[in-house]
Symmetry: C2
Subunit: 394 residues, 2 copies
Amino acid sequence: MRLCIYTYKCYNTFANLSIVLSGFQRPTDKDTGMKITQRNIAERCGVTTATVSMALRRDARISPVTTERVWAAAQELGYSPAQNQAARRMVMQRFGRKIINRVIALFLPPQFHRLAYYARIYQGIMDVVTEEQFALLITLFHEEMDATFRMPQVFNSGEVDGTIVYMGHHQPVLNDLHDNPGFRERPVCSLVLPLTGCSTVTFDDFHGQYAAVKHLLDLGHRNFLYLSFPRTRDRMEVFGPRLAGIHQALQEYHVPVLHCRVCETPMEWINPHRYSANEEQERRLLEVLQAHREITAILAHNDAMAHRVWVLLTQAGYRVPEDISLVGFDDTDPLPNASGVNQLTSVRLPLEDMGRASARHIIRQVLNGTNEVEHEVLPAELAIRRTTATACIP
Amino acid sequence: MRLCIYTYKCYNTFANLSIVLSGFQRPTDKDTGMKITQRNIAERCGVTTATVSMALRRDARISPVTTERVWAAAQELGYSPAQNQAARRMVMQRFGRKIINRVIALFLPPQFHRLAYYARIYQGIMDVVTEEQFALLITLFHEEMDATFRMPQVFNSGEVDGTIVYMGHHQPVLNDLHDNPGFRERPVCSLVLPLTGCSTVTFDDFHGQYAAVKHLLDLGHRNFLYLSFPRTRDRMEVFGPRLAGIHQALQEYHVPVLHCRVCETPMEWINPHRYSANEEQERRLLEVLQAHREITAILAHNDAMAHRVWVLLTQAGYRVPEDISLVGFDDTDPLPNASGVNQLTSVRLPLEDMGRASARHIIRQVLNGTNEVEHEVLPAELAIRRTTATACIP
DNA sequence: CTGAAAGCGCTTACAG
DNA sequence: CTGAAAGCGCTTACAG
């Protein structure tokens, strides 16, 4: 034991030497010896590591004088607590406590950086994460990857403090996280499409869509075409509130719900990166408009879809908004005029705020050592521009 | 000691029970007891943890029979080695060895996901990282952040295996990484703009630019305008090879170098997200063209700039390519015609390949436990489209 | 207010 | 081929 202590002293001298003599060759296989531990501090101060450990955390049980001496020695020796995190992690788990790694993970779909919608949420998350000096671990996940997906190793080793699940709408991911012994009990927050059993940050789709329809009703429109996407049970969570918002507005204006035709469009219409011309679908949309000349306004599921519809309408000789009004949803995909000014009336989603809210929530839980499920709903407001106008009743 | 072993046995029985009786309440403050360790396996097999440790790694010193028994027990108990990574990390550092975390970090500028250029490199990195079951840690960094920047805590704790520095061109980042005791000696790879003292993956700017000029010379052009950006010492590394490529081509065709005018444009011209109309600069560009009617071809520093120039030329009444040919660089920013087909002749950079190459390099080093500096140069090829044509000599 | 001891879970020499 | 022991660096009861 005594010998051992001498060994340490020897290393210390070594370390000092190699700082002074900058050309000095470090013993390459003994780089571990360069690492400063609480033991080095203890020796220099003539106390035990227990005292150092508590002093460094400014525990009240250690006298102020000793605490300062320990801190000074730590500074001098260049002690970095993060460096020996592994030991701390191990002893903490002995007492059933967790350490804070300042790492949060983000699950998101592979193509996230290609779509403004995802990119803006990502931006908000990253802003907060950087500000709070956390690191962000990106994990790509897509429903189709389900079979091959394996939770990255870091989740197992307890090195991730919390997770944000960015869309996905895929409950198994959450279960995997909760079943993972290295991650279990840590906070999770799902975005946009809520998962059950964790915190959520969502938009107020209902009031957003409600505001859009109310705006059209105020302009005299009474017959609508709502372009949705193929409904599956999964997606009803998105579809439901939107439709309810529409119904609510119609009801307030005593317009029968039948006056809103719901049209399912191909999924690719809402994702411009998957878009491939689908002539049959495009023809069908125009046929509906021809057959129902009473329709004077179109509500699209998102801006990308509104964009596509605008092109079709223009090619077919319709004028927007003179002949027909058009409203988007999400406000990510501008429809610029010649001077580059966005023309599309749309429901504006505070996407960056959503990212920020989720990151703040997770970081708060991590720093407090809590895991309280919270549900935050962010407002969706109508941005009125130039694709909506007074109804042109035939 | 004996008591301790009994405690463990007790926990095990508990664990089995709670699997059978799914409604059974787990002791919440004893969740650590649920964790399976090599000790549990050792007890079940009647061997020591040393044997288990070696058997799990299929060390030849352990008999096949014992190895299989250990593996079977591990399976049964649901042992997960990653879970106790902290202990492994600690013992490994005792013997001066590293463990593989399957985590690599990526340093990149804050707005990376907004620019196709960055996004495509990112895509390539992510593809390989996901395929190799690594996790990616994103760290935003920008020269302007230098004062406030602090290396995230995870780098200190030895939980990051290697780093890719994505642009930045900022040597201090590399020094910070190398000075960090938790990261020291691990592989680093810088992209596009090489840092000294680490591996690099770059493009063959020289041959890319050379091919572009040769193409124009073949079309009969003899007087060029090369639109560059403000030259600082930092940026000479980009500027140098490009200019050398131009000179080489001119020389081969015996065209005096003076026939290539170099014009500096504002930095914002190469970054569409920072673009704001700069009428004076725009007028100056047109003035140059008016004053030098012998110029029949423009080489832009990147596609974004080419885009901007195309708009200016068109507005000023020039026809591209009939009156003037235009060549971009990077091939990220298409100039679509009415049918959506890109018209811009440009030097195509294999951006995804670059991301993939850097990720492969780092992952190879990590898995081999080596840190060999390598320099990879990827080809840049000319993509000939419709903004270049036979010179219209006045 | 501080020290001596135990132990988190693992891997590696070193015995046998 | 396997076991007993040591120790990575830390924190926490428990003494004094």
